[in-house]
């Protein structure tokens, strides 16, 4: 199913906002059921570890639910740990909310092409071209930064410092080294872009032409919007 990056961007952002503002568990269930299965299918390339870590994170949310919302009748009584109705309800609401947010994001990750997204941000969504240029530079530099960061961490280890910069001081030292290399590259990327006439370049507006995949996503989004608004009104 091919979809325009504009549709995917709007879809993922809108579902995230709807999930954040919804309080009704039935609405959250509907949002999760519409997004998580499709997102899991499209995002299956992320691998088992991605999903395993997500479920491990949910365990932390369950512990938080027990710490902050453990009220009402006891549901589970295991020695010193008493899980009450309030904690279960709180956990389920947060689980459904996070699942719909993750599902929408996975739909985006599964179908969007980053190069096309950058083009759509500038030409269809009319985001300022300099802003999109910054994003393009940032995304292009990720691989280089990863290599630089690996080398800096290796040097830290060889000099007897902790490999991971966990304290504010070591984070500062790590970032200063990483930035000094990256800024030099950024400076010359900027100079080269200016010499090639970045500021003189005309914007190429591209009209939004939704295809079948876009229509399917927009209908899904309209359905979720209607469910959320109806739950708030009724």
């Amino acid at each position: 199913m091919k979809s325009d990056p504009t549709t995917l961007f709007i879809y993922a952002l809108s579902v995230t906002v709807l999930s954040m503002v919804s309080r009704d568990p039935r609405v959250l269930l509907a949002l999760a059921l519409l997004n998580l299965p499709l997102g899991t299918y499209l995002g299956r390339k992320r691998g088992v570890i991605f999903f395993l870590l997500y479920f491990l994170g949910l365990f932390g949310i369950f512990l938080n639910s027990v710490a902050f919302s453990n009220q009402g009748t006891a549901v589970l009584d295991v020695g010193p740990l008493v899980v009450r109705e309030g904690a279960v309800k709180a956990f389920l609401r947060v689980f459904l909310r996070l699942s719909s947010i993750l599902g929408a994001a996975l739909i985006f990750y599964g179908l969007a092409d980053i190069r096309e997204l950058l083009d759509a941000l500038e030409c269809t969504m009319r985001i300022p071209r300099g802003f999109v240029f910054s994003l393009a530079v940032g995304l292009r530099m990720l691989a280089l930064l990863q290599r630089d960061a690996g080398e800096i961490l290796e040097m830290r280890a060889q000099r007897g410092h902790s490999r991971r910069p966990l304290t504010p001081g070591s984070l500062s030292s790590f970032l200063r080294t990483l930035l000094s290399v990256a800024l030099e590259r950024g400076l010359w990327i900027g100079v080269a872009a200016e010499l090639r006439g970045l500021s003189l370049r005309e914007r190429r507006p591209r009209p939004y032409r939704p295809g079948l995949g876009d229509v399917v996503l927009l209908v899904l989004l309209a359905l979720q919007l209607t469910i959320t608004i109806l739950s708030m009104v009724c």
């Binding site: 902050f68 947010i101 900027g190």
Partner: protein, 176 residues
């Protein structure tokens, strides 16, 4: 006293914002593991004191490097966009947080008329993002943040933001 910088950005300014976005986007992704580790050891308030400010660093770092109006906002939003595009569990919530935090951080420079870009403004920029982030947490997890903990979390996030804002200023001194 410095003069008001012009709003027009050069390609070099945009490229520097891109560098900040990439560096901080990567740091944001790695910070999740650190956050969960500290949260397991010190609980939600301790985790906010020691780690939350990391997510507010992009704004003061970008502003201290570029020194132009809207650079704090742009730096935070771009880093959040990079964090959103590198797949994380937060998905598009990262972008929503980034826009809100960026607007709050920008205020620190706006109230000084975009004339000062020093450590005070950087600390304030990080601190102002704290209450906004905790308010968004309250919207996202209303079941897990009680009225009693809200105030403590705001204080923790604000203190953390100020600390990491200062660190961001220190890091920016790498560019003379």
């Amino acid at each position: 006293m410095q003069t008001v910088p012009e709003l027009r950005y050069s390609a070099v300014d945009y490229a520097i914002l891109g560098v900040v976005a990439a560096v901080m986007g990567v740091v944001f992704v790695v910070a999740w593991d650190f956050y969960y580790l500290v949260k397991a050891l010190l609980g939600p308030i301790g985790a906010r004191v020691f780690t939350y400010g990391i997510w507010f660093m992009a704004a003061p770092l970008a502003a201290s490097l570029v020194r132009k109006p809207l650079s704090a906002f742009s730096g935070e939003v771009l880093a959040a966009l990079v964090e959103t595009i590198i797949p994380t569990y937060g998905g598009y919530t990262n972008l929503i947080y980034g826009v809100a935090q960026g607007l709050a951080s920008e205020l620190a420079y706006l109230i000084f008329g975009y004339r000062r870009w020093g450590p005070l403004q950087a600390a304030l920029s990080g601190a102002l993002a704290g209450p906004v982030a905790v308010t968004l947490d309250q919207i996202l997890f209303p079941e897990l943040i009680t009225a009693k903990t809200f105030a403590a979390l705001v204080l923790a996030a604000t203190a953390s933001g100020a600390l990491y804002g200062l660190i961001a200023y220190g890091v920016s001194r790498v560019r003379k």
